[in-house]
Subunit: 247 residues, 2 copies
DNA sequence: ACTTGCCTTCCATTGGACGGAAGGATCACC
DNA sequence: GGTGATCCTTCCGTCCAATGGAAGGCAAGT
């Protein structure tokens, strides 16, 4: 299938992921399923253009030009920079890990993360994707997702920790409350020792465009304070988004 | 020249920049110098792969997959996340715009920026490049750059504001002091009303890998405090970088 | 010295990219 | 409703440029 010449180059790029940030030529060829000679030539072109770069070690890595390009993606172009100051404020006020995430298909995509030195260890990384049913931001986004998405996610609720919610009925019930109360919580459902709170970030016409969340070791005592801090920040972001001409 | 099939696709990607984040098919073709039919086919492939995405309006933008990929670039992979908590601390301690930058050829490339609501308006954006001789981080990086780079930069010191340093001798003198004193400053040399301080960030073997800077409206009163805050942060980053196994 | 793993270059073959042309859709203006 | 602009999409015969096997060169490991 495929094998269109362009897609070969793309297959090469696709060989990189979080676990494979640097690859030798042959590893690259192997992972992309291309003959060595072909890979060699394509990689050469990609390097010349700046999509890849070669380390002194001879291994290849993603180049600066792709990094540049990535920054232009609308995933974050508007949202991320609008949110940035509010994330800092939020961090300053709470001193815990702050997350900004959007829905990508049936997963949560982390757009930005802000954490200090002394935070709960968390799984998320900027650019990584996690299941929606086991994270705070995920629940928020799921609660406001179109029906077909919700159906698909409810279809396979994979267990991550002993506390992960795997019964569709129970999750549905929670989602209803998320919509009613305006925030979602989790308790060690994604990783042990980590709880989270999250609220929706709304766009100009009230639609949910992202979710803003905090990760803390324990939720019971501070919930109210955290939720209100989150809501202040979320509203601030919405305000900026609305006024940003969406140029 | 070029015209290799792969590079056509890359030319299409190259048609995007900060001023052109969304393009129609024909604009894309025009900017890339390709026949419409060809562009159409290639863009189709790029979309299918996720390198581009199509808005409801019909315009094309950089897709999420490229955003993902960009995050893997070593420009920031290690540096940026190592620095992140320290940038926040620094912001918390000073409440002014914080910059993290590296040298890219003969320019300064901004890797990360952190600014609150109430800061001096600054030109820089993450992913953007500015001249080295007119910015604080630029002077730091230039002071520790290899000789040929320094020579080239000194060759054309373009004027940006009335205060921009355009005499090679004077800049050289400043660079010497930057190396001696361990920090650089600017006074409205890049944009009026903005001054800056910056210090080097050193890697495991003492080489300068990045620069850390602050932008403030006025430097005179607080210089000492800002410099020491910067140095604490820079040392912290270096420490993390060194211990990070450089996996 | 032999093997096994990398990377690089060459070049004859051929299959898939190319792009002109034609068709459709949507606007705006007369 | 006609006319002209500007956009997007599809088709298909030509032909050229990507392909990848083969051969050669390093460098390490046994």
């Amino acid at each position: 299938m495929s094998a269109s010449v362009t897609s070969r180059a793309l297959d090469l790029l696709g060989a990189f992921d979080t676990d494979h940030r640097q690859l030798t030529l042959s590893a690259l060829a192997r992972r992309a399923g291309l003959p060595l000679a072909t890979a060699h030539r394509l990689v050469g072109e990609l390097c010349r253009w700046g999509a890849l770069a070669r380390l002194e070690s001879g291994e290849y890595v993603i180049g600066r030009r792709l990094w540049d390009l990535g920054l232009l993606a609308p995933v974050q172009a508007g949202l991320r920079q609008a949110a940035s100051p509010f994330l800092h404020d939020l961090y300053g006020a709470t001193l815990v890990t702050v997350h900004l995430a959007v829905r990508d298909g049936c997963e949560v995509l982390y757009i930005d993360r802000l954490s200090g030195h002394v935070s709960v260890p968390v799984v998320s990384k900027v650019g990584s994707r996690l299941p929606m049913h086991a994270t705070g931001v995920g629940k928020v986004l799921l609660a406001h997702a179109p029906e077909p998405v919700r159906a698909e996610v409810l279809g396979k609720l994979t267990r991550v920790t002993p506390y992960t919610i795997t019964q569709p009925a129970r999750l549905l019930d929670q989602l209803r409350r998320v919509r009613a109360e305006g925030f979602a919580t989790t308790g060690e459902e994604m990783s042990l020792g980590a709880c989270s709170v999250a609220v929706p970030v709304r766009g100009p016409v009230g639609e949910v465009v992202a979710a803003l969340g905090l990760v803390v070791p324990d939720l019971r005592r501070e919930r109210a304070r955290l939720v209100s801090a989150l809501q202040v920040a979320a509203q601030g972001i919405s305000r900026v988004l609305a006024s940003a001409q969406w140029k």
